[in-house]
Amino acid sequence: MTDTTRQLAADAPPGRGSGGATGRGPRLDLTRLRDLSLVPVILVLCVIGFIVSPAFLTTDNLVGVVQQSTELSLLVLAEALILISGRMDLSLESTIGVAPVIAMWLVLPAHGGRFNGLGLLPGWTSVPVCLLVGVAIGAVNGFLILKLRVNGFIATLGMLTMLRGLQVGISQGQSIVTVPASFSYLGAAAWLGVPAAVWICLVLFALGGCALAWLRHGRALYAIGGNPEAARAAGIRVDRVTWAILCLGSGLAAFAGVLYTGHYGSVSATQGNGWIFQVFAAAVIGGISLNGGRGTLFGALTGVLTLQLVVNVMTLGGVPPLWNQFLNGAIIIVALVISRFASGEKQE
């Protein structure tokens, strides 16, 4: 026995807590622990929140927090899937804005309104059109990354700028206030007293989580992210799947745009501006590896909630406006460090 343990110890890659090496039980715990690593952080935040203001633990407030995280969480969901399969997409932050604008442009009547579209399509098509636009954007990203083989980070960065510019160009920089009812419904409606958006996000995360856990194509993402060659040898159509995921991701971003529009009552000209950093922060402190092949959607979700709770607690606590941003950054770092040590894995 001693020798097997020694042997295991020998193989344990450096830095994984010594627990990593020994036997089965601990390892499982560790794996699960990686996803739970933010739970303590969230609990601490809740305690602080409760201390700074009794209003924190009211359903109103908590539901509010969750509702505010819906759009962001969808982007994180999308980015998480893309990261797990070993890619990156920065352009999501623009897709959430440009997809609805293009949809409105195609759908809204050519005159009368403050923003004049082409009026090519009936109002009810706005949501599907918006999603299609998202998918199309994903396809373009896929083409750049998989066919032209240019660096994904910069390619999607260029797309980010270009799409934002496209939005400004089409909307002439205005917010679009009058949108078809069908378009704003999902973001505004409430089911069983809880915003519809919340239900939808939960469902989507649940679906995504199950897909990653039990579906063949879900597992394929981990394989592709972990070792593309092996995946290919095992008969997974690496490029096709990756492309599909890029499309799906952008589609989700477009859908986030739909919710956003309903939630905030208009397609704002700066919708999603500067979100991508938050998206990455949430995903990574949630335990998703930027090198692909590792992480769970549950972790990502905890990441989003952490960031949103921070804002909420700081507001309730009445942090002096001038030091708001500073604290925000500090807390990201703290959360990152905690999740790194809780999961016991170096995040190279």
Binding site: A10, R27, L28, W214, L215, A223, A230, A234, G293, R294
Partner: protein, 512 residues
């Protein structure tokens, strides 16, 4: 004869950009036949493998299985039904469990839902069937090299294909591992499974195979029954020149006088979980071998000597000067040269030039005030290229364009660059073809002849033959010490921990 070949490849041409990897080669493996494919590094073996397994589409030529044309390039399932393969480079997904790696993308034929419980039990059965004791729950990256290799082999075999390709499966296995593999393979032979077996260990070819095919420089050279070709002819065919005097016999040269000054000494050196306190001394002109199987801790010992790992106790001295433990720079300055175990991982900066890699350790000697003069760098590189005869188009070629053998030479050149008092080399000939192997071992021997010293950490008998003295490690303890003239059986037995005969047992830990 009459039965259609398990696989028949004809006129296969494959180029990678400028590189002609395969130049109209042919290969035929009959049903139930064990076919060896040998050739020097870069001969095109692995490329042929990827063609035969449908990973690469040949630029020209045809492949047929049992007389039928090969499946469509995209249709992996069909390929896998025809031929299973253990590739040269690891094909596991590090972060996934062994179970999942075994059944990657074929969890359940019909249902797209994965049933984990069932998957695990199937994995356990599979591993048990092939005698691999690995917990299917473990993540692949936590496995030892050997365990991983066996998992891949088990996976390959589990497809139930009648043809199995093994590309250098033994390169990373120790003797016992190889034995286990071979027993398993022989079973399959009896069941009439055909093999294509690639290795740089010609002995294995003779042990296992009935027919051998030799490639040289992307061309087919010969195919013949193994029985009909003597080793020297085989080598001749691979290298294309008249057989050299093989140095497989024990190293020549005068015995080292016990009085010769000690170059490297380790006192009660120990690293928890790796090896127990060990004393060893290496004298001028001596080559010390440290033999040991995978888990024996001999690699760890080597890395500790080189300063890559910090010992938990004990001290290392070079010519009486104590070396600061766990610091590579100090080890270098003290005069310890190091050839790491895995050239791809620790040896080379793959996208940089041969010159740069070769001079990595002597950057401080190539110019005044911390400068590195390109002229001197290139001159230096040119010298080692000629002295070690490294096959390269010039000092400026990136090393990732060199074959394994030549890459390994660059690593050794780097280790010798500082003219160390003592060279520590871990498995210096891993995955290197016979010709290069002799050259490399010759170099190591040469170091000793020049009145310096060397330590070879390895489990390959060919490596250990050049040693004057061999310590055998087993589970972190020195279980035996051999002078020259040891027999293979004795050494292997010692490495396997079968220490019934313990002539000059080491002063230290004769344990059990």
């Amino acid at each position: 004869m009459d039965a259609p070949a398990a696989v028949h490849a004809q006129g296969i041409v494959k180029r990678f950009g400028p590189t002609l990897a395969l130049d109209g080669v042919r290969l035929t493996v009959r049903p139930g036949e064990s076919h060896a494919l040998v050739g020097r590094n870069g001969a095109g073996k692995s490329t042929l493998v990827s063609v035969l397994t449908g990973l690469h589409r040949p630029d020209a030529g045809t492949v047929t299985f049992h007389g039928e044309p090969a499946p469509a390039p995209g249709d992996r399932a069909a390929w896998q039904a025809e031929v299973a393969c253990v590739y040269q480079k690891s094909m596991v997904v590090p972060d996934l469990t062994v179970a999942e790696n075994l059944f990657l993308n074929r969890f359940d034929q019909h249902r797209s839902l994965v049933r984990w419980g069932r998957l695990r039990s199937r994995a356990r059965e599979l591993l048990a069937e092939y005698g691999v004791e690995v917990d299917p729950q473990r993540r692949a990256k936590d496995l030892t090299v050997e365990q991983r290799q066996f998992v891949e082999i088990a996976r390959a075999l589990s497809f139930g294909a009648r043809l199995i390709i093994l590309d250098e499966p033994t390169a990373q296995l120790d003797a016992s591992g190889i034995q286990r593999l071979f027993t398993r393979l022989r079973e399959l032979q009896r069941q009439g499974v055909a093999f294509l077996f690639i290795s740089h260990h010609l002995q294995e070819v003779y042990d296992l195979c009935t027919t051998v095919t030799v490639y040289r420089d992307a061309r087919h050279v010969l195919t013949a029954p193994v029985a009909d070709v003597a080793k020297r002819e085989l080598v001749a065919a691979m290298t294309g020149d008249s057989p050299a005097e093989r140095a497989s016999r024990h190293a020549a040269g005068a015995a080292v006088p016990g009085a010769a000054e000690t170059v490297l000494r380790a006192e009660r050196l120990c690293l928890d979980g790796q090896f127990d306190p060990i004393d060893l001394t290496v004298r001028r002109g001596e080559v010390l071998g440290v033999a040991g199987a995978t888990a024996s801790g001999n690699t760890a010992l080597g890395e500790t000597l080189a300063g890559l790992r910090k010992p938990t106790a004990g001290r290392i001295t070079v010519r009486g000067r104590t070396v600061r433990p766990g610091s590579v720079p100090h080890a270098l300055d003290a005069g310890i040269g190091y050839v790491p175990e895995d050239r791809q991982r620790q040896g080379l900066v793959l996208n940089r030039s041969v010159a740069e890699n070769a001079t990595l350790t002597v950057a401080d000697q190539l110019g005044p005030w911390g400068t590195v003069l390109p002229s001197r760098t290139r001159a230096f590189a040119q010298r080692v290229i000629t002295s070690l005869d490294i096959k390269t188009s010039g000092p400026d070629q990136p090393v990732n364009a060199l074959s394994g053998g030549n890459q390994q030479k660059v690593v050794i050149a780097r280790a010798l660059a500082r003219e160390p008092h003592c060279l520590v080399a871990i498995r210096p000939t891993a995955g290197v073809d016979v010709k290069s192997k002799e050259a490399l071992l010759g170099v190591v021997r040469g170091v000793a002849q020049e009145g310096r010293a060397a330590v070879i950490v390895s489990d390959e008998l060919d490596d250990l033959r050049v040693c004057d003295r061999v310590l055998a490690l087993f589970h972190g303890r020195v279980v035996a010490e051999f002078d020259r003239g040891w027999t293979d059986q004795a050494l292997v037995a010692a490495m396997e921990g079968v220490t019934e005969q313990r002539r000059h047992a080491a002063s230290e830990g004769g344990g059990q």
